[in-house]
């Protein structure tokens, strides 16, 4: 992208209301949307509120909707956006507006407290340590890449359009639960909560969460669907119940 003037429509306002305002700024090679927002903030709108921190796609602070799609502003290159029309920048939609591009995401932290904590099995060795296979840890490690940008929560239509915040915890916390539930040391059972209080059944597998994840976590295929299958195991599979009851019995008889 050679130096050129790029036009933006940035949402300005607060909880009472607001609208788009037009701004223009000079853009150069390698600039990202967050750079342009900072230019606007410095030169034209000193009161423009935007949350940011690392500028490296790792803190998850600068989430916004750019041309209608949830993205991190620090990772959205201007050279990859069409500039014939003004680029729109809005706050994320699933949470209440504080000011301009800032939303109150505190609901997420309240949800996190409701998920049953990590509960390891008794240590494997007398020195209080455990033994795990690398392959087992690799599976849950993917979920731990999450930077809590909440773009997946924003794009999920259950939260965004249907506002079922009191019945559904959203993709971010489903993979948080998956990281605990699939952990090789964890012995806690979260399937009851996943089915009822956490509302996993509300997910209808649109995969929008996976598409917007800046860490490329396979939220749906590796996190939510395996959890749905665990819920099926416990609540909807009579053959599975018989199989597990038989296996439990045979394991018991095999033990001295």
């Amino acid at each position: 992208m050679s130096d050129q003037t790029v036009h933006f429509k940035i949402w300005r306002g607060d909880a009472k209301g607001g609208g788009f305002r037009d701004y223009s700024t000079e853009c150069t090679e390698g600039m990202v949307v967050l750079d342009a927002v900072h230019d606007v903030q410095r030169e034209q709108a000193v009161d423009l509120a935007c949350r940011w921190n690392c500028k490296a796609g790792k803190c998850g602070s600068c989430s916004a909707e750019i041309n209608g799609l949830p993205k991190l502003m620090c990772m959205a290159r201007l050279s990859e956006l069409p500039t014939e029309k003004p680029i729109t920048i809005e706050p994320i939609k699933a949470f209440p507006i504080v000011k301009d591009l800032i939303t109150d995401v505190s609901w997420n932290f309240e949800v996190k407290k409701r998920i049953k904590k990590f509960k390891p099995r008794p240590p494997d060795a007398p020195d209080g340590t455990w033994r795990m296979q690398q392959e087992d840890i690799d599976r849950v490690q993917e979920f731990r890449k999450c930077i809590e940008c909440f773009l997946c929560q924003d794009v999920c239509h259950v939260l965004r359009d249907h506002h079922l915040h009191d019945r559904f915890i959203g993709p971010r916390f489903l993979i948080y639960a998956a990281a605990l539930e699939m952990h090789p040391l964890d012995v806690e059972d979260r399937t009851d909560e996943l089915r009822n209080a956490h509302g996993i059944g509300y997910c209808n597998i649109t995969k929008c969460c996976t598409k917007v994840c800046p860490e490329n976590i396979q939220i749906t295929d590796n996190g939510i669907i395996p959890l749905k299958e665990r819920v099926v195991d416990k609540f909807y599979d009579p053959l599975g119940w018989i199989w597990r009851a038989w296996k439990k019995k045979s394991d018991r008889t095999r033990k001295p």
Binding site: P96, R139, H157, V158, G201, Y202, C203, N204, T206, E229
Partner: protein, 261 residues
């Protein structure tokens, strides 16, 4: 924080700030699935021209009852009501149909394309109510693994059909039809063995995946296929329809089956 505090004004159907052609993918899914449903329903109700020598259409296999030499238990059963149209395909197509209907990939795809729930990511929906897969009827999607068990049996039967397709009246041979049916089994196998439910049942249910070497090896194979589940789903859907069309047109004498060996 309560639900009410978070609520934002609902968007109208189709309302979005997206600039890309967001409607293209759901439109293609709608057209692709509609064409397949119309063709397969038509083909299933024909009840004729579904075999050609040693080839049998995958829509009609296994042929439990029917008039062809491929029938397992003879002609149309006497207990079949006269007022009810009979076709061997109607006895079996519910199984692969149910497998695809409850498939995790197709669910996401047809909720968008046929029910606009949502039409596409960040695009406004036509309805304000939403039940998801928590209550009837969509809670029935949890039956998917039972359809998987039947689908696995079907893969074995279709593989046997390929074996039969190697044996012509004058002995061993390979025709274009043999290859068409063989590709069909490979694609259906790729789709079925990459199923999310199979991935769970084969080993994914364990927290200590690597404890069982065999189970872990199987889990890795299924996961490998699962990464391209959408691709397998579409390729197998197209090819199973094409396989029926090939056998049908050969049977009607429109196409000539070329013998390679």
């Amino acid at each position: 924080m309560s639900h009410a505090e978070i609520a934002a004004p609902p968007r109208a159907f189709g309302q979005t700030m997206r600039r890309d052609v967001w409607w293209l993918q759901p439109a293609l899914v709608f057209c692709g699935l509609s064409i397949f449903i119309v063709y397969s329903t038509w083909a299933a109700f024909q009840g004729a021209n579904y075999f050609f020598g040693n080839y049998v259409s995958p829509f009609y296999s296994p042929e439990l009852f029917g008039s062809s030499p491929h029938s397992w238990f003879g002609p149309k059963p006497g207990w079949w009501p006269n007022w009810l149209l009979f076709s061997p395909a109607l006895l079996i197509l519910w199984a692969p149909g149910g497998f695809r209907l409850t498939c995790y990939y197709y669910r996401g795809a047809y909720y968008k394309a046929f029910w606009a729930d949502p039409p596409a990511c960040t695009v406004g929906e036509p309805r304000s109510t939403y039940w998801g897969e928590r209550s009837f009827p969509l809670i029935m999607q949890n039956v998917h693994r039972y359809f998987l068990y039947i689908a696995l049996i079907f893969i074995g039967i279709l593989a046997y059909d390929v074996w039969k397709a190697l044996w012509f009246a004058n002995g061993f041979g390979i025709g274009v039809g043999t290859i068409v049916l063989a590709i069909n089994v490979v694609l259906l196998g790729g789709y079925t063995f990459g199923c999310h439910s199979l991935r769970h049942l084969i080993g994914g249910f364990r927290d200590n995946l690597a404890r069982s070497t065999t189970s872990f090896a199987c889990y890795r194979c299924v996961s490998c296929l699962n990464k391209r589940h959408m691709l397998w789903a579409w390729m197998s859907l197209f090819w199973v329809g094409f396989s029926d069309l090939y056998v049908r047109l050969c049977s009607l004498g429109v196409w000539h089956d070329f013998r390679i060996i």
